[in-house]
């Protein structure tokens, strides 16, 4: 029997990157919010620069419990057997924004208009076969004020490339116009970054420093980055990484309107007799509670967003909540960030200190920034040369056929070369397809007995061609900078569980093909909203979190403004 709790205005499921943002505008509007978070609280004292704990053992006591226990299964196609994969996300207040890399990109204008822009420039037959991609229900201009909001409220460092149409050659000339500069200058470059930038310029490209949700100097009374080298999958010991745990969440709590409940795992979203969301059921220490709410916001990361909806079956929604059109789980894709390229240089890169959000980007080959008339794909890749090196991972470097993997010869090799390689993965445009989707696994269950998500998905021709193309460009860049050996990884097969996972509850005007409307609210359940990558219908060629957070703020703003209309229903 569930214990009934006192009702609230809004319940947010998950206080990660997306949910942790939405609570602030709601609380500031005077709305009572309860944030239910499956994880606990971690602080800067938990963030030791310890590679074994953070990287080798994957955050033993901070994250792995829930996400690992419910790690999705995956298979390339519906005829293949699904296998269990990993799940690198965090369970804690702040969610994965605690230990993510914090590259903080806006999407480019093209990403919102992939279909219409492709048809206009190249013809309808250039939309890849089987893709279910749609234009977003709005363009870049609509989301720009929210990008700006996130950049200033959380703190994003970077170099503007286009302020109100005026191009600044130090920034990305291809970015959409922004109203103002970033609130902080970009993270510093090392000598290697300078070398890569010079090489890009010689090739006629436009290198610029990437944007980061990391303080390049002190901001909002928090420190600037210390560049200590343990940012990858590690939290920040000086709170220079602008996780929601140190920005929006405490500010929302300070209003007195946000109550954070930790250790609360939501298992179902409940509905009333009219088919409206009535609240959520959660489990804490083996006990079950029912938390009534006037509005429910699901912000539990892409897999759990779809899973919670699919698990919440009722008479009104027999196939799962908000799934009477059969769209929950559809239009799923894992961002193609594989197909790595690794280079060996004849000099030390001096990359022991620094972070993956610090580096040189090139956008010339992303989106529709170049003419695709002579190519057989649409979209592209963002090239990115960052800093990321730690001793154990350095010792595992590919010896490129120049030495064995152990013994005295290896020792000699690693002594010389541990700091001489550089790898890049390059974010690539990834599209949704008819036969890539999420559903509930028929056999694999989590410890509560609930089925886990099953991913059915593979990268298709368009993604694989971009991968090949991006490897060509990356190799060209490395060689220009002096690389003496370059190797490439495979161009992509099955889609495993990803840190960049999109779709499942896509946003769009058409309820036949989308779960949520342009505001992020369910087409079928007017007082249910969804936050995170699950609402995004395109990926662009860059990391997703900035867009998720801009959308989360926008949804929360909408709820605050339309409160009377939304709760009266």
């Amino acid at each position: 029997m569930a214990t009934n709790l006192k009702g609230t205005d809004v319940v947010v499921i998950g206080l990660g990157a997306a949910g942790g943002v939405a609570v602030l505008p709601l609380a500031q509007a005077g709305i009572d919010v309860i944030g239910l978070e499956a994880g606990g609280v971690v602080t800067r004292r938990d963030f030791a620069p310890d590679e074994i704990r953070n990287n080798v053992r994957g955050w033993p006591f901070l994250s792995s419990h829930k996400t690992n226990q419910e790690a999705p299964t995956f298979r390339a196609t519906a005829s293949a057997a699904a296998v269990r994969g990993g799940h690198p996300m965090m369970n804690a207040v702040g969610g994965t924004s605690m230990h993510y890399w914090a590259q903080h990109w806006r999407l480019n204008p093209w990403d919102f208009k992939v279909v219409s822009e492709t048809k206009r420039r190249y013809g309808a037959n250039r939309i890849p076969k089987g893709s279910t991609v749609e234009d977003w229900p709005f363009g870049y201009d609509e989301i720009e004020p929210y990008y700006d909001k996130i950049e200033y409220e959380l703190g994003v460092s970077g170099q503007a490339g286009n302020i109100n149409g005026t191009i600044d050659a130090r920034g990305n000339p291809f970015e959409g116009p922004r109203k103002r500069a970033y609130p902080m200058p970009p993270l510093r470059w090392t000598a290697f970054h300078e070398k890569m930038a010079a090489a890009a310029t010689r090739l006629g490209w436009h290198p610029f420093p990437g944007p980061a949700a990391i303080n390049s100097r002190s901001y909002q009374n928090r420190s600037g980055c210390m560049y200590h080298g343990f940012c990858n999958t590690g939290g920040c010991h000086v709170e220079a990484k602008n996780s929601t745990a140190v920005t929006t969440i405490p500010r929302a709590q300070a209003t007195g309107k946000l109550k954070v409940v930790t250790g609360a795992t939501v298992t179902e979203i409940n509905v009333d007799s009219q088919g409206l969301a009535s609240g959520v059921t959660y489990v804490m220490n083996g006990e079950t509670f029912f938390q009534p709410a006037k509005v429910v916001l699901v912000a539990s990361f892409t897999y759990e967003n779809s899973r919670l909806l699919l698990l919440s079956k009722s008479t009104a929604y027999p196939k799962g909540l908000s799934n009477n059109h059969g769209q929950v789980g559809r239009h799923y894709f894992s961002h193609h960030q594989g197909a790595p390229v690794t280079a060996l240089f004849p000099f030390d890169i001096k990359a022991w200190y620094g972070l993956p959000a610090q580096g040189v980007a090139v956008d010339n080959f992303a989106d529709d920034n170049f003419d695709h008339a002579s190519y057989d794909f649409i979209g592209g890749c963002n090239l990115w040369a960052m800093s990321d090196r730690r001793p154990i991972s350095a010792s595992g470097m590919n010896t490129l056929g120049l030495a064995p993997n152990w013994g005295s010869q290896w020792k000699q090799f690693i002594r010389e070369n541990a700091d001489r390689t550089h790898s890049s993965y390059n974010q690539k445009t990834t599209l949704p397809y008819e036969d890539n989707f999420l559903d509930l696994d028929p056999t694999v269950k989590d410890p509560l007995g609930l089925p886990v998500i099953r991913i059915t998905g593979e990268f298709k021709d368009n993604e694989r061609k971009i991968a090949q193309f991006s490897q060509d460009k990356m190799e060209q860049w490395y060689r220009e900078a002096g690389a003496i050996q370059v190797t490439r990884g495979p161009v992509g097969g099955a889609m495993g569980a990803s840190t960049h996972a999109y779709g499942g509850t896509r946003m769009g005007d058409n309820p036949e093909t989308n779960v949520v409307n342009r505001w992020g609210m369910s087409h079928e359940v007017p007082n249910l909203g969804v936050l995170g990558g699950s609402v995004m219908g395109t990926s662009g060629a860059r990391n997703p979190t900035h867009t998720m957070q801009a959308l989360a703020w926008r949804t929360a703003d909408h709820i605050a403004k339309e409160w009377k209309n939304i709760v009266k229903g």
Binding site: R45, D46, A48, P49, D50, E51, I52, R53, N54, N55, V56, R57, G58, W59, P60, F61, S64, H65, G86, P88, Y100, W101, Q103, R188, T190, M226, H228, G229, F230, N232, T233, H237, V238, Q337, D348, K350, W352, Y353, G354, P356, P391, I392, A394, S395, G396, N405, W406, G407, S408, W410, K411, Q412, I414, R415, A418, D419, S498, T499, H500, N543
Partner: protein, 246 residues
């Protein structure tokens, strides 16, 4: 949780880390908080073990330890370039982890080490320990490539090999807090200048000018950091978190 009062890692290494030296009967409570597996004494040395001049491990049996030591000594040998895995305390790292984070690998060690010895006898006429360095290497190459006599290894010898190699690198290049990388041997080998909590632009410049001196500090020499605990360590999964996550 509050950080227990910790004696500096270096003091600890000086005190108990000298393999083969007389045992220091270190009262565990003095060294570290009770639940703190990571910072447990370098090895629980009994007076019997000390009398025999040999380190006694918590989880590995004496014969497993001998075989494993001989194996890691070939993976990262002491040579003209400097000390190797044995000197760095890689065995201590693995032994300790087998009781916590790597507990699920315990059986694979027992089976794999026995199989290694059997394969050496079957193919080279002598147990692994009786072989000279060159023959040990050639046995290990077979184990690595999976070209061993069928039936000797349960499952796949390559898997066993890469497991031991992976753990050897963790012990060699991980934070000394976990029992390996003694005297920062591993970090010096890679020319890694060490764990720092602040790296200024000037530090980076001096690194680029080859002038940044290794600082030889464990992350946990910084009092601010909460240490991994035994209880939590046990939930660990041994996976490479460096995969494809950004």
């Amino acid at each position: 949780m509050d950080a227990p009062k910790i004696i500096s890692r270096r003091a600890l290494l000086r005190g108990v880390g000298v393999a083969g030296a007389a045992a220091v009967a270190a009262p565990a409570g003095l060294l570290v908080s009770t639940s703190d597996a990571g910072a447990a004494p370098a090895a629980a040395q009994t007076s019997a073990g000390a009398a025999a001049g040999r380190q006694v491990y918590q989880h590995l049996t004496a014969s497993e330890a001998e075989l494993l030591e001989a194996m890691v000594d070939r993976l990262i040998p002491a040579d003209a370039l400097g000390p190797g895995a044995k000197d760095a305390g890689v065995l201590t790292y693995i032994d300790r982890a087998l009781g916590s984070a790597l507990a699920s690998s315990r059986a694979a060690y027992t089976a794999g080490l026995a199989a290694l010895d059997r394969y050496a006898s079957a193919s080279r006429g002598q147990g692994f320990l009786a072989l000279n360095a060159r023959d040990r290497d050639s046995v290990l190459m077979d184990v690595e490539s999976g070209t061993v006599t069928p039936g000797i290894f349960t499952g796949n010898s390559t898997q066993f090999f890469s497991m031991v190699l992976g753990h050897t690198r963790q012990g060699m290049f991980g934070d000394p807090f976990y029992g390996g990388n003694k005297d920062f041997i591993g970090w010096d080998l890679l020319r890694y200048p060490g764990v720092r909590t602040t790296v200024t632009a000037a530090d980076q410049k001096s690194l680029e000018a080859d002038q940044l001196k290794p600082n030889h500090r464990s992350a946990y020499d910084n009092e601010m950091f909460v240490k991994a605990t035994a209880r939590n360590d046990a939930h660990d999964q041994d996976h490479n978190g460096d995969g494809h996550g950004h």
